[in-house]
Every structure is written in structure tokens, then in C-alpha cells.
């Protein structure tokens, strides 16, 4: 009942000064609103870029052969380096930090794929079983290429969802026979890929089969691997060790980065991680700046409030208002305004974020704001407003009523 009375007094006072109230509220509203928008935008950007990385494993390392760019031990530069199964075995046997490993052998050109009366052109990759982890391949039905397929040089194929759709339509593909470049394969699995439609227009076959039936070679066109859980530094070291091992085996300088080039997704990813750290810091800097501006705004308004009400405070004191009741009257008014304005800013910010969420923009996805951050920011503003009002309010509570009323 007593509190109810106090709030009536406070609401009364707020109603008397609509402009002042709105200005105070606007400062707080804007501070919180901007903070939420900035945090949400930063988050959306981060999610967007992470989404672009979704296709390949973040801990992957891609090893490509090239030509030597410097002479080494009497060998001229310009020598072409070729990978074979021996290189695959070297990686498998000598490096414990490798989680999944695969080679790739490309058939030259698109091979005609035939099923019954359908003749379509798809690209075919001959791979090791570890390949599915590098491309984040999801097996929909059947199975992926296995070690046994490789060992027994089986003619089996795993086909992408689009391939399956184009060749088989709605009917089951598993166990059916298709012809790739004149060789008959049994379909053992179908898959989807998060990397998009093009990644699902591909046929995977065992690497040994391709080497044997199309070329009679042990060559590999590319080597790919994923690492165990390594720090960026350890990834870098692994990269150097792998490079050194190839340099020794293929007789090129360890400084020759073009003979064999290694690309680490982790390094690339780390660049973005660093970028986001910078963006986040910037967002907080600007956000806190707007909060501080809000705090200063409240402080100013509170000073004016107290000055404006000096006479009223004098009257109230003469009538028996305690210093506590004076201070709490002024502070609660400020707290009420900042809390409501902060909450509205929070709502408006979240509303705009949801609007942004529905937009389809590259490198911007699914912006999320930690609501607790917004609440903490509002709380900070409320406390700052209270502190800002506290000093002048205390001063006001100390004034001599007679002097206050003469002013």
C-alpha cells in the first residue's frame, strides 16, 4: 500500500515532464537498441562465414603436386612431381596426427554413365574410404567405399543424390548395375552432401579400381587428410613435416613450396576467427560507447531533475520527508524510466534482428543475440542512472528547506 503510493507519486512526476521523460528514455532506448543490433549483426556475419565453410572439414589439409621451382642436388627446376600410392602409405605410416586420409584419382574427362536407356555425363572421383570425412559426405542409403572394396578392387560405386535421381528416379538404386566409361559397376550406396547440388552430381568409386581398369597405374592426383584435434601451431608443424617428408622422398628442396603445395583449411579458418575476434571487439567498443552515451544522458537529465525540483524537495522536507524518501523518490523515477526504455530497446533490437534473419544475404545468416547480454546492459544503464541521480539526489536531500523555498 505504501509502495503503491510512492509509485503514484513517481508516475505523477513522470506525467508532468513528458518531454524530459521521453528524452531520457530515448537515450537509454537507443543505447540498448544499438548494442543488440551490433551484436546480432556480428553474430549473423560469423554464422554466415561459418556456413560457407560447411562443405569441407575445418581440420582438413589438401596436398597438391606441382613442379619444382628451384634446382636441388643436381636436379633441374621445372621437374614435375607425381604422387603414387607410396605417398599415401607414407602419410598413413609416418604421421600419427592424421585422422582421416584419402587420395583422389580423377578419370580423364566426364565419363558417360549408362543405366538402361539413360546416358548421362557425371564426373567420377576415385577415392579412399577416408574421403567421406573430408567432404562431409552423408550416406543416405547403402554404404560408402570400404577398405575391402579397395583390397579386392571391386567395381562398386557410391552415387550422389542428383545422380540417383537422374538415373533411377524414385526407384531404389542399391544393387543396380551402371556403366561408367564402358565398365560395369554395382551401386552400393547413395549420399547427400552439405556442399550443395554440384557435390551431389559426383560418383565415387574405389581408388584401386580406377587405377587398375582405366590406366593401369598407381598414380594419385591429390592427397587429402584431416588432422586430429590440433592447435593452429601444431597444424602448421604437421604441414611442415609432411612437406619435408615429400621433399626427401621426391628429391626437392624443403624450401620449395611449389613442388608440393599444402593448403590447410584450419589456417584459412583461423584468419576468419581472428577477423571475428576483431569485429566482436569493435562491436563491443561501439556498443559500450552507445551505452556510455546513454549513461551520460541520464546523468545530465538527473542533474536537471534535481535542480528543477529543489523547491519541491524543500517543501517536502519541511513537511517531514526524510532524506531517504527524497533520494528514493528521485532514484526510483530514474530507475523506472531507464528500465522501461531499456526493455523497449531490447524488444526493438530483437525485432530488427528477427527481420534481418528473414533476409537472404550471402555471408549473413541466422543472427542471434544473447538476451542475457541485453538484460545485463539494461541493468548497467539502470544502475548507472541510479548512481548518476544519487549524488544530486543526496545533495538535494541535504538542502535547507527554507533556502530551497526562497530560490
Amino acid at each position: 500500500m505504501i509502495d503503491f503510493d510512492k509509485w503514484r507519486e513517481i508516475l505523477n512526476s513522470i506525467q508532468r515532464h513528458p518531454l524530459r521523460t521521453i528524452l531520457t528514455a530515448l537515450g537509454v532506448f537507443w543505447g540498448i537498441f544499438m548494442l543488440i543490433i551490433l551484436l546480432g549483426a556480428g553474430d549473423g556475419l560469423q554464422n554466415g562465414v561459418e556456413y560457407e565453410f560447411r562443405d569441407d572439414a575445418i581440420n582438413s589439409m589438401w596436398i597438391r603436386n606441382g613442379t619444382t621451382s628451384m634446382p636441388h642436388r643436381g636436379l633441374p627446376k621445372g621437374r614435375r612431381i607425381e604422387f603414387t600410392n607410396e605417398d599415401f602409405d607414407l602419410l598413413r605410416e609416418q604421421f600419427d596426427d592424421i585422422e582421416h586420409l584419402t587420395g583422389r584419382y580423377y578419370l580423364s574427362g566426364d565419363q558417360m554413365t549408362v543405366y538402361k536407356d539413360k546416358r548421362l555425363s557425371f564426373s567420377t572421383r576415385a577415392v579412399h574410404p577416408g574421403h567421406r570425412y573430408l567432404e562431409n559426405t552423408l550416406v543416405d542409403a547403402g554404404r560408402y567405399i570400404s577398405e575391402r572394396d579397395l583390397k579386392e578392387v571391386r567395381k562398386v560405386a557410391v552415387i550422389g543424390r542428383i545422380v540417383k535421381q537422374d538415373l533411377f528416379g524414385e526407384t531404389d538404386a542399391i544393387g543396380k548395375e551402371i556403366e561408367i566409361g564402358g565398365i560395369v559397376y554395382t551401386v552400393v550406396g547413395t549420399y547427400s552432401d552439405t556442399g550443395g547440388e554440384n557435390e551431389m552430381r559426383i560418383i565415387y568409386i574405389p581408388v584401386t579400381t580406377a587405377q587398375k581398369v582405366y590406366a593401369g597405374t598407381n598414380r594419385l592426383h591429390q592427397l587429402m587428410l584431416t588432422t586430429n584435434d590440433l592447435t593452429l601451431e601444431e597444424t602448421k608443424q604437421l604441414e611442415n613435416k609432411v612437406h619435408a617428408a615429400f621433399a626427401a622422398k621426391h628429391d626437392f628442396s624443403v624450401n620449395d613450396r611449389r613442388a608440393v603445395s599444402i593448403f590447410s583449411a584450419a589456417e584459412e579458418y583461423q584468419k576468419f576467427v581472428n577477423l571475428f575476434a576483431a569485429i566482436k571487439a569493435f562491436v563491443w567498443f561501439v556498443g559500450l560507447g552507445s551505452i556510455i552515451a546513454g549513461v551520460i544522458g541520464i546523468s545530465n537529465i538527473m542533474l536537471i531533475v534535481v535542480k528543477d525540483r529543489t523547491r519541491e524537495i524543500g517543501v517536502r522536507k519541511a513537511l517531514g520527508a526524510t532524506p531517504y524518501s527524497i533520494v528514493s523518490m528521485i532514484l526510483q523515477e530514474s530507475i523506472l524510466i531507464t528500465a522501461i526504455a531499456g526493455y523497449l530497446g531490447l524488444l526493438a533490437g530483437v525485432g530488427v534482428i528477427s527481420l534481418m534473419e528473414s533476409m537472404e544475404v550471402n555471408y549473413f545468416r541466422n543472427p542471434q543475440v544473447d538476451l542475457s547480454v541485453g538484460f545485463v546492459a539494461t541493468l548497467v544503464l539502470v544502475i548507472a542512472g541510479a548512481l548518476a541521480g544519487w549524488m544530486p539526489a543526496r545533495q538535494a536531500a541535504r538542502i535547507n528547506p527554507v533556502e530551497a523555498m526562497r530560490s
Partner: protein, 235 residues
């Protein structure tokens, strides 16, 4: 009711000490009706502040209804002001955004009296000062005399021990001034102790006792006749 013993008060102004009250001895019985006069600088404002528990004194003793008023915290002072003293000011000092009834009820708010009860009692006191029909009006809609009557109702509502009026007629014409003084007389007749600070002789003459201050000391203290207002003149 009010006992002042050798009250001294001085202010520090720069390097100088300005002695404002140099030993005031005063005694008011319950039901006293007195005016305090003196030129500016005589110490009457300071004396009023001390009587109203708005300011502290350096030396001496002030008892209000037997309670020693000394070294109080701000909160205690506020409590005593609220319980013991009703203030009436020269410029009325009603809160402009509150109606007459709300203004009268305000001291009860600080006694944490229930809202409905506050309003009921405010109406009683407004009726007593003859303004029951004006209870919903804002101060700006009232004449000066009416505002001062509202202020008197506000001073009375807590049923204080003493009414302290600081130049209550200073802002009013003489006809309205006399009406206000009639009201004080009526209140006093009902037993209330009323102290009025004024510099107007005709106003002071309507009280039962006149205290004249000069340079921080009591120059004279007596009935209006013996205080010989004819020779004093306006300051």
C-alpha cells in the same frame, strides 16, 4: 511547550565568524500566540530555522514539548518536523501539480497514512479553512489568500504542537492578510501554539505576545501594548 535556553548560533563566512544568535532565552506555554519581529540581520530567520528543526544550534538547549531537540540525524529531524511542527510560508509553497486536497494531505503521506484516510482528513481541514468547495483546484486556480489558507490547512493536518509561520502575510494585501490572521486567531483559540515571524506591526499587534530581536539578542518581550509598536515603525 517551547523552551529555549541560551541558544547561540554562528556561521563561518570566509575567515570571519558571524554570530547570529548570541544567547536567546525564550519560553512559550501551550496555546501561546506570539510574533517574532526584527530587522533583517537580527537573527529572526535563524531563530525560526532552529525552532523549525531545519537548522542546528551551537550552544544552549531547545526543548519542544519536553523533548530535547539536539544533535538529531536528518531522518530524526524529519520525523520531529512531521510530528511537531506545521509550517506556513510567505510564498505559500504549495506543490503546483497537486490539487488543494492533495497538498493538504501531503504531510500525512510522510506519516504513511492510508490514501483514503488522507483524503478524508484533508477535506475536514479544507472545510475548516472554508475551502471545501475548492478541493479539486490546482494552486494556480486559487487566489493568494486561498492558497495561504490551503497552506494553513496543510500545516494543521498533522495536529502539530506548534505552527511556525514565516511572513505568512508578506505576499498578501491587507484585507486578505487580516482574513489569514483571523484564521490563525481561530486556530489559536482552539489551543494551538502559533508563532509568526513578521515585520509588519499591524500583524504583530494581532498576536498576544511580541518578541523583538536585535543583533542576535532579545530586545523586548511582552504584550503588544507594552512593546510600544508606535515607536518601532517599519524596518
Amino acid at each position: 511547550m517551547i523552551q529555549l535556553k541560551n541558544i547561540r548560533k554562528s556561521y563561518q563566512t570566509g575567515y570571519n565568524r558571524l554570530e547570529v544568535l548570541k544567547g536567546i532565552d525564550l519560553h512559550f506555554e501551550e496555546g501561546a500566540f506570539a510574533s517574532i519581529m526584527g530587522s533583517s540581520g537580527s537573527g529572526k530567520s535563524t531563530l525560526l530555522n532552529i525552532l523549525g528543526i531545519l537548522d542546528e544550534y551551537d550552544e544552549g538547549e531547545y526543548r519542544l514539548d519536553g523533548t530535547l531537540i539536539q544533535g538529531l540525524s536528518q531522518t530524526e529531524a524529519a520525523k520531529y518536523r512531521n510530528q511537531f511542527i506545521g509550517f506556513v510560508f510567505q510564498s505559500f509553497n504549495l506543490l503546483s501539480f497537486k490539487t488543494a486536497a492533495e497538498n493538504v494531505a501531503l504531510p500525512l503521506y510522510y506519516q504513511k497514512v492510508d490514501r483514503n484516510e488522507r483524503h478524508k482528513r484533508a477535506m475536514e481541514y479544507l472545510d475548516m479553512v472554508g475551502l471545501a468547495d475548492w478541493s479539486d483546484h490546482l494552486p494556480t486556480q486559487l487566489s493568494g489568500g486561498q492558497q495561504q489558507r490551503v497552506a494553513i490547512a496543510r500545516a494543521l493536518i498533522t495536529q502539530p504542537k506548534v505552527i511556525l509561520a514565516d511572513e505568512p502575510t508578506g505576499a498578501l494585501d491587507s484585507k486578505t492578510s487580516y482574513e489569514v490572521m483571523e484564521l490563525f486567531k481561530k486556530v489559536n483559540k482552539e489551543g494551538m501554539t502559533v508563532l509568526i515571524v513578521t515585520h509588519e506591526n499591524d500583524i504583530a499587534a494581532m498576536t498576544k505576545q511580541i518578541i523583538r530581536l536585535r543583533d542576535g539578542l532579545i530586545e523586548s518581550n511582552g504584550s503588544p501594548v507594552s512593546a510600544s509598536p508606535k515607536t518601532a515603525g517599519h524596518d
